[in-house]
C-alpha cells in the first residue's frame, strides 16, 4: 500500500439508518467520514416510521439520538443536498467529486429557530409527511432533523418565481438566508466508499387494481406510518382521508409490488408482514372496537420474537390474517368504503372496509442505477447491488461496500448489521493509514459543591404534540417556576433539537444555572444528549435530571389531560427536588488492552477474527472442536448453488496463516474475569486436542491451560441442529433430516456431473442403499417446522424454508422425475430467497400448507411410510407414501450458552439465544460493554447474514479497540466506610462481581470499572452503607418528599 | 399559711371518699392495676390504684418530661413558627400524682434543678410541674433491688413530695410537706384527724423496720471523691458486658438527656425534643465525624460520672435515688451497686 500523508477517510453515501450507523462506527474507530445525503437532512425512511416492531419503540425516538450523535461527531462531516458526481481512482485512493445543491440558507448561520417557517406565506406539500399535509416553502424537514437547518424549495418560492417576497430574509435574525447560493462541487479523497442508499417504495399507482389514488380511502403503508405518527398530518389520530372519521374496519393488502411477477418484482420485500402486524397493534392502541384484516399469502415472521408478535396481533389486537391474494378493489360510492375482492375456499368474496392500506414493497430506481453507473458497480436483474453469498457487503468494485436495502430489501437490524460490517470492511482497506486525531474540547468544569445555592433551570418539552396535546405545558412551566431553587422555567417545542441545546447552554451561562431539569420524552434515549449539552456548557453532566412526562405521563393519560397535567407537575417537581440534591460525578477512565478474544471458530468466529486481525489487532480464537469451520462444514452448497467448501477452506487457511490470530482448537473457556478493556481469560485444552495443536499447527505449546489477556470479547459460539424425536427419525431409515439429505445430494452431484449412470452407491454406510440410485426415488416429502414454531421451540428457525427449497431444487436438478412435496406452514423465503421459492414451484416442487394445530402425521407400515396431512387451503386430507421423508429441522441454541451467559454476565433471551442490547439498533452489542455477539449464537441466520454480522461484530469491537482508554459509568455504587461492617452480602449478590472485601479494613470495596450501577447491592445492605451515586438515599427521599 | 408540717390520719374506709373529694378539683394519676403498674396513668376510681406495687416500670419523669415533646410547630413553606406546645397544652386542671414512691418524688426535686431553675427556665417542664402535686407513699416493704439509703434517699424521704402517706394498720398517716400539700387536702379536711402520739410511734417503728431492710451499700460522698480519678483502671473493664442499650437511662428517674430534632411532613413540621441516652454511640458524635466518647468505655464512664461526680458538683446532688430500676431491667445484670462496690474497692 502506498504511503499517504493523510488519515483514514471514508465516504458514506446515504444518510439513512445504515449510513448513519456505518458513519458512527467508522468515526468511533478513528476514521473521518463524509456522509453524503441527497435530501436536506439525514435519517432516511426510519425517521418517517411511527413505531418499530417487535418492541413498538417509537422509531424516531430511538433513531434521533443517533442522528444527533452523528450531527455532533467531530469525525463526521454531514453533506446534505448532495449527490456523487464522479468517482475516480482505486481503493484506497478514490477521488470523488460531490455536487451540493443550494439550500438558500447558510448552514453555518441558521439556528433552526423556525421563525422563517412561520412567516413564509407559501404552503407546499410536506414530503416528510408523504404529502398528506402542507409545510412551508422555507422549512426544516422535521423537528428533529439533523442538521436542523431550514431550506427553501426553489420551485415554489415566490421570490424565485416572481422576484419578490424575501419575507424570510427579513425575519431571519442570524441573517442566514442567502438567495444567491449556487450549487457547489466538493472534491474529496477517500480510502473507501460505503454505499448506504436505500431503495424506494413501490409506486402503488402501478397496481391500479387496488385503487390507490383512485379511491380516497386507499393509502400506502408509508402514508399510514405518518397517519399513525404523533407528529404526522393527523397528529396521531387515525382518521381516514375522505371524511376525517375514525375507521372501524381496516384492511391491509400485503405484497403490493412484491412477489409479483406481473410487475416484475419477484422478490419479497422482507419487512412488510411485520410492518402490517405492527400497524395493526398500534391501531388498536389508538382506536377502540376496531377490526383489522391483513390479506397476504404467507406471514413471514422469521426474526427474533416475530412469531410471538404476530400471535399478539392475532390474539390480543383483533387482527385477522387472511391467506389470500386480493384480486381487485373497488369502492362503495355512498361512503367511499373500499371493497376488497378475493377468492377463498374456491369462493369469490367481497368485503368492504373503512380504510385500506397497501403494504408497498421496495424497489430500485433509475436514480440508483445512475449512481451505480457512476460508481462503476454491478447491479442484478432487480436493480439491486450485486453481491455474493460469501461477500454480502462487497460490491463488484474493490473498496466500495454496500449496506442496507440497496443490496436487497431488508429490515432495520439487518441494515444496521451490514452497516457495521461495511464499516469494518472499509476499515480493513484503510488499515495502513493513521487514525484521525479527535480532540473534543470541553470548557473546564464549573466547580459545584454542596454548599452552593442550587440554581435550577427547567425546560419542559412539548415533544410536538406528544406531550403538549395532553399536558398543559404552560401550566407546568408556571407551576415549576414557583418551586424553591428554580430560577428558570420554560417550554420548548422540541427540547432535543439542536437549537434547544444552544438555548439551554445560553441559559446556563446567562443565569448561572448549576442544575438542569429537562421534562420530556424518556431518559433512555435522550439523557446522553442533554448531559452532553451540560458538559459543553461547563457543567458536570450529572447535575441533570430527566422528568419523563411523555412515556410515563402524556402517553398513558391521553384521556385525562387535567390529571396528566397534575401528574406532569409532580413528575417535574420530583425531578427538581432530586436535581437539587445531585452532586457532580466523575467517570473513571479505563485503559484498553488491544487484544481480542473470539469464542467460536465457526463461520462467524473466523470471519470476525479476520475482521479484527486484518485491521491490525491480535486475536485469540477459541474453538471447542478440534477443527475450525463449525456448522458450515455440514452445508455443502448455498441456496444460490455455490459450493461452500472452497470458500471455507480458504477462509481457514487465511486464519491459520494470519500472524495476528492465535488459533486455539479443542479448547474451552474455563474462566473469564475482568471487564471491558481488561479481561483475563483462562482456556482449557482437552487432552486430545493438545496433540493436535502441537503436531498439526505447531502454534501452541502443549499445555492444559492458557491465560489470555484481552480488551473485548466476541461471542460466536454458534448453535445446534435440532435432533428430532418425531416422525420415526432414527427408527426408520427413510426418515432423514435436511442436513443429511444435503450431504447425500452433495455427494451425488459431482458424480452425476462426472457422467450419466455412473452412480451406483452414494453413501453405502449411512444411507445403505436408500439412494443407491437417486433416480429410483419416486417421491420425497419434506416436513417443515420440525422443532421450530412449536411448544418446544417457539421461534422460527428462519433458514429451514430456504434449505428445503434449496434441496428440493437440487433434487429436481439431479432427478427431475422425483416428486417433491413440501409440507409447510408459511414459506418464509424472505427477500431475494423468494426467487428460489418461485423457481422451485416452477420446477414442479409442490408446496402444501398445513395448520399448526393439524400437523402432518406419519404412519409407519412394514415397508413404507404414510404421510397424512390436512391441506389448509382446500381443506382436504392428503396422503403420501414417500420413498424419503425429509425433516426440516430447526436450529436450537447451544447447550453451553447458559454457562457462557453467566460467565460473561450477558443475558439470554427466552428462546435461549444470546440477547442483544437492542433488537433494532444494537443488534451485535450486548448491554455489557466490550462483549459482542454474531452468528447463530444470536439467532438462526443464513451464511451471508452470518458473515455480515461477524464483520459487524468486528467493526463494533473496533470502536473500543481503536481507543487507548474509555470512560466507565459515573453512576456507580460506593461504600460508606463508617457504616460498612464487611458482612459480604453485597459481594455475594453482585451480578457483575464488582465488589470485593478489603481484608485489611474488612469493608466492601467497589470496582467502579465493573459496576453497572444496577443498585442491587445498595438495596441489600442492611446498614445503608452502600449507595448508588446519582441515586443516593437522600436524593431518592428528596424526590419522594416532593409528592 | 402553713407554719409547720402537719401529721394527719385518714381511716382506710374513708379513703374512697377522700379520693372523690380530691378528684373534684384535681385530675389524679397513679400506678394503676390495669397496666400492671407500668407507668403513672389517669385514675378514675380509688380502687384502680395499685397500692402494693414496688415501683412503676417507667419512672415519674415522663410525666413532667415526656419521652417526646413538641417544642413548637412550624410551616416550612411560609417559613414561620406556628405555635409552641407550651401554648397549646394548657394545663388548666391541677393534677395530683398519687402514690409516688419517695425515691421518684426525690428525683423530681433533682429534675427541678435542671429544668425549673431560672437559668433559663424550661417552660414545658415548669408548666406541668406547677400544676401538679406529688403525693408520695412511704415504702414499708422495700424491694431487694432498692438502695435508696446509699444515695441519700430513703423509704420515708419527703424531698420532692407535697404530701407523704404512710400505711399504718387500718389507716393512713398523712404528712403535709409543703404549703401546696396543705392546700391539696383542704377539701377533704373533715375526713382527717390530727395524728396522736401513738400514731407517730407506730409510723416511726414501721419506718425503722423498712430502713433496716435496706442495706447501705456505699457512701455517695466518698464515692464522689473516688470518682475524681477520671482515668481509674476499672473503667477499662466495667463496660465490657454493657450492651449499650438505653434501658438504664430511659428507666432512670433522674436521667434527663434529650435530643432536639425537626420532623416535617410536607410543609408541616414540628421541632421536638426526645429522650436521648449517653449510652448511645451517636450521642456525642460531631458532624465532623469526631466523637469524644468513641467507645462504650467512655459512655459508661460518662453515665456513672454524671450521676455520682458531675451532678454533685453542678447541682449539689447525686443524681441517683436508688430506685433499682436499672438493676432490675439491665439485660446483662449490670448491677450499679456492684459497679459502685467495685469502684469503692479499687485500691
Amino acid at each position: 500500500m502506498k504511503e499517504m500523508n493523510s488519515h483514514k477517510k471514508v465516504m458514506v453515501i446515504g444518510g439513512g439508518i445504515a449510513g448513519v450507523q456505518a458513519a458512527l462506527d467508522l468515526a468511533d474507530s478513528g476514521v473521518e467520514v463524509y456522509l453524503i445525503e441527497r435530501s436536506p437532512s439525514i435519517g432516511g425512511r426510519m425517521a418517517q416510521l411511527d413505531k418499530t416492531f417487535p418492541t413498538n419503540d417509537c422509531s424516531l425516538c430511538i433513531l434521533s439520538p443517533k442522528l444527533v450523535e452523528a450531527g455532533n461527531h467531530p469525525c463526521i462531516n454531514i453533506i446534505t443536498n448532495a449527490t456523487v458526481e464522479k468517482v475516480k481512482g482505486d481503493a484506497p485512493h478514490f477521488k470523488v467529486k460531490i455536487k451540493k445543491e443550494p439550500r438558500y440558507v447558510d448552514e453555518a448561520k441558521c439556528t433552526g429557530c423556525g421563525i422563517c417557517m412561520a412567516k413564509c406565506p407559501v404552503k407546499i406539500p410536506d414530503t416528510y409527511n408523504m404529502g398528506l399535509c402542507d409545510t412551508k416553502c422555507i422549512h426544516i424537514p422535521f423537528p428533529q432533523a439533523v442538521p436542523a437547518v431550514a431550506l427553501i424549495d426553489k420551485d415554489h418560492c415566490i421570490y424565485f418565481r416572481r422576484g419578490k417576497c424575501r419575507i424570510c430574509e427579513k425575519f431571519c435574525e442570524p441573517k442566514a438566508i442567502d438567495f444567491n447560493q449556487k450549487e457547489k462541487y466538493i472534491d474529496l479523497e477517500v480510502g473507501s466508499i460505503i454505499l448506504a442508499v436505500g431503495l424506494t417504495e413501490f409506486d402503488a399507482v402501478l397496481k391500479d387494481e387496488y385503487g390507490y389514488k383512485i379511491y380516497p380511502n386507499v393509502v400506502t403503508s408509508m402514508e399510514f406510518e405518518r397517519i399513525l405518527s404523533a407528529s404526522g398530518p393527523t397528529q396521531g389520530h387515525v382518521l381516514r382521508p375522505s371524511d376525517a372519521k375514525e375507521p372501524k374496519r381496516i384492511a391491509f393488502i400485503q405484497c403490493v409490488g412484491s412477489r409479483d411477477t406481473q410487475i416484475g418484482n419477484e422478490y419479497c420485500s422482507a419487512f412488510c408482514c411485520m410492518q402490517a402486524a405492527k400497524d395493526a397493534i398500534i391501531i388498536t392502541e389508538h382506536l377502540s372496537d376496531v377490526e383489522i384484516s391483513v390479506f397476504g399469502m404467507d406471514i413471514r415472521a422469521y426474526g427474533k420474537d416475530f412469531d410471538k408478535f404476530i400471535e399478539r396481533a392475532e390474539n390480543e389486537h383483533n387482527t385477522r390474517f387472511v391467506r389470500v391474494r386480493v384480486s381487485s378493489v373497488d369502492v362503495d360510492p355512498v361512503n367511499d368504503n373500499p371493497i376488497v375482492h378475493y377468492e377463498e375456499d374456491g369462493h369469490v368474496r367481497k368485503e368492504a372496509f373503512d380504510l385500506l392500506i397497501l403494504s408497498v414493497g421496495l424497489r430500485s430506481t433509475p436514480q440508483l442505477r445512475r449512481l451505480s453507473a457512476k460508481l462503476g458497480i454491478k447491479l442484478d436483474e432487480s436493480g439491486f447491488v450485486h453481491t455474493t453469498p460469501f461477500a454480502p457487503i462487497s460490491t463488484s468494485r474493490p473498496g466500495i461496500f454496500v449496506c442496507g436495502t440497496f443490496s436487497g430489501p431488508k429490515d432495520i437490524p439487518e441494515s444496521v448489521i451490514e452497516a457495521s460490517g461495511a464499516a469494518g470492511s472499509a476499515g480493513v482497506i484503510l488499515s495502513g493509514f493513521p487514525n484521525k486525531e479527535i480532540v473534543v474540547e470541553y470548557p473546564s468544569e464549573i466547580p459545584i459543591n454542596d454548599g452552593d445555592r442550587p440554581k435550577v433551570g427547567v425546560f419542559v418539552c412539548h415533544c410536538g404534540i406528544n406531550i403538549a396535546a395532553t399536558v398543559n405545558v404552560k401550566q407546568v412551566v408556571e407551576y415549576i417556576a414557583t418551586l424553591p431553587y428554580v430560577v428558570h422555567s420554560q417550554a420548548m417545542l422540541f427540547a432535543c433539537s439542536q437549537d434547544a441545546q444552544k438555548l439551554i447552554t445560553e441559559k446556563i451561562h446567562e443565569l448561572g444555572l448549576n442544575r438542569v431539569v429537562v421534562a420530556a420524552c424518556t431518559p433512555r434515549t435522550h439523557e446522553p444528549l442533554f448531559q452532553e449539552t451540560l458538559k459543553k456548557s461547563g457543567l458536570n453532566p450529572y447535575l441533570f435530571e430527566f422528568a419523563n412526562i411523555r412515556d410515563q405521563c402524556s402517553w398513558v393519560h391521553q384521556k385525562e389531560p387535567e390529571k396528566a397535567t397534575e401528574k406532569a407537575k409532580d413528575l417535574v417537581k420530583m425531578a427538581v427536588f432530586k436535581v437539587i440534591n445531585l452532586e457532580p460525578l466523575s467517570k473513571m477512565r479505563l485503559s484498553i488492552n488491544k487484544n481480542s478474544l473470539v469464542i467460536g471458530g465457526g463461520l462467524a468466529g473466523v470471519t470476525a477474527a479476520l475482521g479484527l486481525a486484518e485491521q491490525g489487532y491480535h486475536v485469540d480464537l477459541v474453538e471447542k472442536e478440534s477443527e475450525l469451520g463449525g456448522n458450515l462444514r455440514h452445508i455443502p452448497y448455498t441456496l444460490e448453488g455455490e459450493k461452500t467448501g472452497p470458500f471455507l477452506k480458504s477462509l481457514i487457511e487465511r486464519v491459520n496463516a494470519h500472524p495476528l490470530i492465535a488459533v486455539n482448537c479443542g479448547a474451552e473457556i474455563e474462566e473469564i474475569n475482568g471487564f471491558i478493556g481488561d479481561y483475563k481469560t483462562t482456556i482449557k485444552f482437552n487432552t486430545n486436542s493438545q496433540k493436535y495443536q502441537y503436531s498439526e499447527l505447531g502454534m501452541i505449546e502443549p499445555k492444559e491451560r492458557k491465560q489470555i489477556e484481552h480488551g473485548i470479547i466476541i461471542v460466536a459460539t454458534g448453535a445446534q441442529e435440532y435432533q428430532p424425536t418425531e416422525y420415526f427419525y432414527g427408527e426408520d431409515k427413510k426418515v432423514i433430516t435436511q442436513r443429511e439429505l444435503e450431504k447425500i445430494l452433495a455427494q451425488v452431484n459431482p458424480l452425476r456431473q462426472a457422467g450419466p449412470r455412473k452412480l451406483k452407491v452414494a453413501n453405502g454406510k449411512q444411507s445403505d442403499n436408500l439412494i443407491a440410485d437417486i433416480d429410483h426415488l419416486s417421491s420425497v416429502v419434506m416436513i417443515q417446522c420440525v422443532g421450530s414454531r412449536d411448544d418446544k421451540n417457539q421461534y422460527c428457525s428462519r433458514v429451514c424454508c430456504s434449505t428445503a427449497v434449496k434441496n428440493a431444487l437440487m433434487l429436481k436438478q439431479l432427478a427431475p422425475r422425483v416428486k417433491v412435496f413440501i409440507l409447510y406452514r408459511d414459506v418464509r423465503t424472505y427477500g431475494m430467497k423468494e426467487l428460489y421459492y418461485k423457481k422451485a414451484r416452477e420446477s414442479g416442487v409442490i408446496f402444501i400448507q398445513y395448520d399448526k394445530d393439524e400437523k402432518p402425521e406419519v404412519i409407519r407400515n412394514e415397508n413404507s411410510l404414510c404421510v397424512e396431512v390436512k391441506e389448509k387451503i382446500m381443506n382436504k386430507t392428503l396422503q403420501f407414501t414417500p420413498d424419503l421423508l425429509v425433516l426440516s429441522t430447526g436450529i436450537i441454541p447451544n447447550s453451553d450458552n447458559k454457562f457462557l451467559s453467566q460467565t460473561l454476565k450477558v443475558p439470554l433471551g427466552t428462546d435461549g439465544f444470546f440477547l442483544e442490547a437492542h433488537v433494532k439498533l444494537r443488534p451485535v452489542d450486548f448491554a455489557t460493554d466490550g462483549v459482542f455477539v454474531c452468528g447463530l449464537a444470536h439467532y438462526p441466520k443464513d451464511i451471508s447474514e452470518t458473515i455480515a454480522q461477524a464483520k459487524a461484530a468486528a467493526s463494533r469491537a473496533l470502536t473500543v479497540l481503536s481507543k487507548d482508554e474509555i470512560e466507565a459509568e459515573g453512576k456507580v455504587a460506593y461504600i460508606n466506610e463508617t457504616r460498612c461492617s464487611g458482612c459480604g452480602l453485597c459481594v455475594d449478590i453482585c451480578a457483575y462481581r464488582a465488589i470485593e472485601l478489603d481484608p485489611e479494613k474488612n469493608i466492601a470495596v467497589v470496582n467502579e470499572a465493573l459496576c453497572k450501577g444496577c443498585g442491587t447491592c445498595a438495596a441489600s445492605c442492611r446498614s445503608s452503607a452502600i449507595n448508588l451515586k446519582g441515586f443516593k438515599d437522600e436524593q431518592i427521599l428528596a424526590t419522594l418528599a416532593a409528592i | 399559711m402553713l407554719k409547720e408540717k402537719r401529721n394527719l390520719m385518714l381511716y382506710k374506709q374513708d379513703f374512697e371518699k377522700f379520693f372523690r373529694l380530691l378528684s373534684e378539683t384535681f385530675t389524679i394519676f397513679g400506678p394503676s392495676k390495669t397496666d400492671g403498674s407500668r407507668s403513672f396513668t389517669k385514675i378514675d376510681a380509688s380502687d384502680e390504684i395499685a397500692f402494693d406495687y414496688e415501683n412503676t416500670k417507667m419512672s415519674l419523669k415522663e410525666f413532667f418530661f415526656p419521652q417526646t415533646e413538641t417544642l413548637f410547630f412550624f410551616d416550612t413553606e411560609k417559613n414561620e413558627v406556628k405555635q409552641t406546645d407550651v401554648e397549646t397544652n394548657k394545663h388548666d386542671k391541677q393534677n395530683i400524682l398519687f402514690g409516688v414512691r419517695p425515691c421518684d418524688a426525690m428525683s423530681i426535686s433533682f429534675l427541678d434543678k435542671v429544668f425549673n431553675a431560672n437559668n433559663p427556665q424550661d417552660l414545658y417542664y415548669t408548666r406541668r410541674r406547677k400544676s401538679t402535686r406529688i403525693v408520695s407513699f412511704a415504702c414499708t416493704n422495700p424491694a431487694s433491688t432498692c438502695f435508696c439509703t446509699s444515695v441519700g434517699c430513703g423509704p420515708d424521704s419527703e424531698t420532692g413530695a407535697d404530701i407523704i402517706f404512710f400505711e399504718l394498720n387500718g389507716r393512713y398517716f398523712i404528712k403535709t410537706v409543703t404549703p401546696e400539700g396543705e392546700k391539696t387536702i383542704k377539701s377533704a379536711e373533715k375526713l382527717l384527724n390530727p395524728a396522736t402520739k401513738n400514731d407517730i410511734e407506730e409510723k416511726v417503728h414501721l419506718m425503722k423496720t423498712a430502713n433496716s431492710n435496706l442495706k447501705k451499700i456505699f457512701d455517695s460522698g466518698n464515692l464522689q471523691k473516688k470518682l475524681d480519678n477520671f482515668n481509674a483502671p476499672y473503667w477499662g473493664k466495667l463496660h465490657r458486658k454493657c450492651l449499650g442499650c438505653g434501658i438504664c437511662t430511659y428507666l432512670c428517674p433522674t436521667c434527663h438527656c434529650f435530643d432536639i430534632t425537626d420532623e416535617v411532613i410536607k410543609s408541616n413540621g414540628r421541632r421536638i425534643r426526645t429522650w436521648d441516652s449517653c449510652m448511645f454511640s451517636l450521642f456525642t458524635l460531631h458532624a465532623s465525624g469526631h466523637n469524644p466518647r468513641p467507645t462504650q468505655k467512655e459512655r459508661m464512664r460518662q453515665r456513672i460520672m454524671h450521676k455520682f461526680n458531675y451532678a454533685p458538683k453542678y447541682y449539689g446532688k447525686t443524681f441517683c435515688v436508688g430506685c433499682g430500676r436499672c438493676v432490675i431491667y439491665c439485660p446483662v445484670n449490670m448491677d450499679i451497686r456492684d459497679v459502685m462496690k467495685e469502684i469503692m474497692e479499687e485500691r
Partner: protein
Amino acid sequence: MNNPYVPMPVRISDIITENEARDIKTFKLIFENKEDEKKFSFLPGQFAELSILGFGECPIGIASSPTEDGFLLFTVKRAGVVTTRLHRAEIGETIGIRGPLGNTYPIQDMEGHNVLIIGGGFAFTTLRSTIKYILEKRNRGSFKDLTVIYGARNPGELIYKDELWQWEKQSGMKTYITVDKGDKNWNPLTLPSPRCPPPYPPPTSGGGQRRGYYVGEGLKEGGRYEGFVPTILKEVAPSPKDTIALICGPPIMIKFTLPILTNLGFVPESIFLSLEMRMKCGIGKCGRCNIGHKYVCKDGPVFAYAELQRLPNEY
C-alpha cells in the same frame, strides 16, 4: 414569658464566601423584630443557635462584635445537614436564631492588659469579634497592646481577608498572618530555612520535605509568614507579662500552642480557650456537651486553661 427553645427570626442580608474551597461562608443577619435585637446583648466569645425550620439547629460563634451595630455575623463551615442548608440559603431569606448563649472571653479581666490573640483556620470567628471589640475607638483605650497571630492551611483558606489586610496596616496592633503553605502570590516576609523542624509533624498526605521554617530573632513586627502558628508564636515570643492570651483553632494547633505559651511564661490562668462540643439545647439542659462537670454551652465555650487542666480530657 421567654421560651428559650423558640428561635427569633433574622433575615440574611449578605452572604460572603470566605475561602477558596467555598465551604466557609459568613452570613450577615438582621433581626426581623427590633425587640429581639434589643434583647440580644452579647460580648465576644458567645455563640448562638442558628435554626432552619425543618432542618434543625447548629451552634455557631458570633463573629461580629457588639460594637458593630444593626447586624450579626456568623461564619459557618459546611459540615452537616443544617450548615449545608444554610450554605444554600440566599440573601433575603429568613432563618432563626437563639441566643446569645454561653460565656464570653474575659473582657473585663482583659481590660488594662495586653491581649494576645491566636487563631487558626475558620475558628477565628469569635476572635474576630474580640479584635473588633478592642479596636473600637471607645474601647481601645481600655486595653494595652494587641497582638494577633492567625494562620490557615494556605492563603485561600484565610478568612476575613479584607480585614486582615487592613489590620496589617493598622497602627496600635501587630498582625502576624501565616499559612502552612504559601502560593506564588504569597510573599512571606521571612526566608524559610530548612534547619528548624516543624513543631508538629507535617501532614503525611502531602509527603516529602517541607520547605522549612523561620529561624532567628524574634519577629518584632507583624507581617506575612509561611509556617505553622506555633512556630510563628515561638518566633514572635510575646511577653507574658501583663498579657492575656486567647486561643481558638483546630485541636492540633491548640495542642502545640499551649506548651509554647507555657514556655514563654504564660500562666494557665492567663490563657483562655474556646471549645467545641456537640450541642442541642445550648442552655445546659440536654446534657451532652459536658466536659466533666462543666457544660460547654453554658459554662463555656470559653475556658481558662487553668480550669481546663482540672477537667477530664474528653473533648
